[in-house]
Symmetry: C2
Subunit: 343 residues, 2 copies
DNA sequence: ATGAAAGCGCTAACAT
DNA sequence: ATGTTAGCGCTTTCAT
């Protein structure tokens, strides 16, 4: 027993007009008498008429809504990005549909499929850790669906992209630890094939090189699911601690890894920063109250969302097909706190 | 330039059938020859045919999707609830559309409006702090849209609801502080008219009463936006600290207030738990690494989402109108850590 | 068992 | 300036 909304037909009947006239009046079309328009608008207002977006979508093949695919909304970085996206979308009259891949390729495919079939006008996506095959996105893109990548991007598709300056962020983090007196610096990071992982690893290596510290492969630990699955982080920390030459500091590459690392070290009774310095990539709003307060690299998440949405709107609303694409790189910010300060 | 998907018409033409036959074959209707069905299904499979959900929605006035309205996804509690909802929805073949009110009444109305017009089959909602007028929801409900409330509920609508046992949670928190030796216990909470606020306040009062501690109005501080807006928490803490008789412990009623309180006290150089014991309602996964580790009341957020979604599906799929409704109350859990343990 | 046709609500090309 | 008509993709009633 679903409810009946008022339709254009009801208005037409009541006013003795045709549906097309009503439609024209409502959408403020050019050829319409001021009088008729007034009449229709007034009546529509009175009945609190709302056009049926489903019918509009079916007709126009657009929906003024856009889809977001992220791996987890329960992640400060992504929820902040989403807020940035929404802030722009809201102003421009777009509705935002949020979906989560939970780092699963299958879910990512299902979500993009669904969003496309729901006639979203565009897609904002950050890839799941499992994603290596991009055909689901390529197919949609080839068919004309505008797509903008953010954060976890791919080289395999020519379109707009927004990322944080991950290279610099990791460079800063590493250099800061070196300058604070740490020498044997490990890197705890996520799935090795993700774009952000490569960028951060490169920054880490560059900082070591610039300070004449040899790169040691064994000091880089990968957590495929970014610490999302049970025990992943603990194992990585364990193996770092068991190294013949234990590291004296760690650069962690994600929110979950940063907090997981602090927790694991606390359980192992490793004192931070005395026995282990930490700098973490994180957008947690509460790093200040961690024990110890966490030195961190913050990504401009909100801004990243704004930029991504603006780029997407540009793609959607452009009259001409766009052929030159841009990858915007936004600066990260280092905040120094206790976790990296030698007592 | 939008992309063309394969339609039922394409299949019909290719196979020399009518669209109705194809439709019947696809939906496994009663009167159809096994042979034709096989043919159609095979061909559809080959072309990777996907029915257009927009067209289906327009026709059937249902969408197999449901809408969620929460105030902030950047809140551990809500993101966990959403994950619970999704886990059930996914299994049952429903798609989930997430939207945020950002604690704004206007946004809440706009979101519910939009979701309804998009033919969601049902709504899961936790009210914004600004919401006192429920006519937007009542109107939809009266027209037959199934709605289930969770967490922040209302008495003004007869439907299924799910909440945490906020009374017990606050009671436990307060009693625990009393047993730990604290005597002058404050309550830092959110908007006074929210259901959860009243329930928690009642639990707090009951625990005091049961332990013969007089209730003192001045020890209850409300943060209208739950610490979401700048300085709200700091001011509340400030005014507690400036009381002629300063409290020796605080029960905080939300995630943001709990962390905000720890941060504010740290800035004020008030030592926790020595000079101030804290027990907080929070679903943060990292309370363990806070300084000090935070004693907390945890809400069964994931389970709450599961229950809410199951209830909603029951409403949606019931053949007969449902007239008796249920309010499920789920237990909270107290975890004792350093912030409430007298040295 | 299959097809023809109507209709969900809306828009727009084509009359007039 | 307004009306008529067709059609978006799908389901379903009514013929056959």
């Amino acid at each position: 027993m679903k409810f009946e909304a008022i339709t254009i037909k009801d208005i037409a009947k009541a006013l003795g007009l045709s549906t097309s006239t009503v439609s024209r009046a409502l959408r403020d079309s050019y050829e319409i008498s001021a009088e008729t328009r007034r009449l229709v608008l007034e009546y529509a207002e009175k009945l609190n008429y709302r056009p049926n977006p489903i019918a509009q979508s079916l007709k126009e093949k657009r929906s003024r809504s856009i889809g977001i695919v992220v791996c987890e909304i329960a992640n400060n970085f992504f929820s902040q990005v989403i807020n940035g996206i929404e802030s722009v979308a809201y102003k421009k009259g777009y509705y935002v549909i949020i979906s989560q891949s939970h780092e699963s390729f299958e879910r990512e495919v299902a979500n993009t499929q669904y969003l496309a079939s729901r006639s979203v006008d565009g897609l904002l996506i950050s890839l799941s850790t499992e994603t290596t095959d991009l055909s689901h996105l390529n197919k949609l893109h080839d068919k004309g669906l505008p797509i903008v990548f953010f954060d976890r991007i791919t080289e395999e598709m020519a379109t707009h992209k927004v990322i944080a300056n991950n290279f610099n962020g990791a460079y800063q983090a590493t250099e800061h630890l070196i300058q604070a007196g740490f020498r044997r610096i490990a890197h705890l990071t996520i799935s090795s094939h993700l774009s952000i992982t490569k960028e951060r690893l490169a920054g880490y290596k560059a900082a070591l090189a610039d300070h004449n510290i040899p790169f040691d492969e064994t000091l880089v630990k990968y957590c495929r699911y970014g610490g999302l699955i049970e025990g992943e982080t603990d194992q990585a920390i364990e193996s770092l601690l068991n190294l013949p030459q234990r590291p004296d500091a760690i650069v962690t590459a994600s929110d979950k890894l940063s907090t997981g690392c602090l927790a694991a070290l606390a359980r192992k009774k490793v004192s931070v920063p005395r026995d282990m310095g930490i700098v973490g990539f994180t957008n947690s709003p509460v790093t200040e109250i961690f024990h110890p307060a966490l030195t961190c690299i913050r990504q401009p998440a909100f801004e990243m969302g704004q930029v991504a949405m603006e780029m997407l709107i540009q793609l959607i609303e452009s009259k001409h097909p766009i052929t030159t694409f841009e990858t915007r790189v936004l600066n990260t910010e280092l905040t120094v706190r206790a976790s990296s300060t030698r007592p």
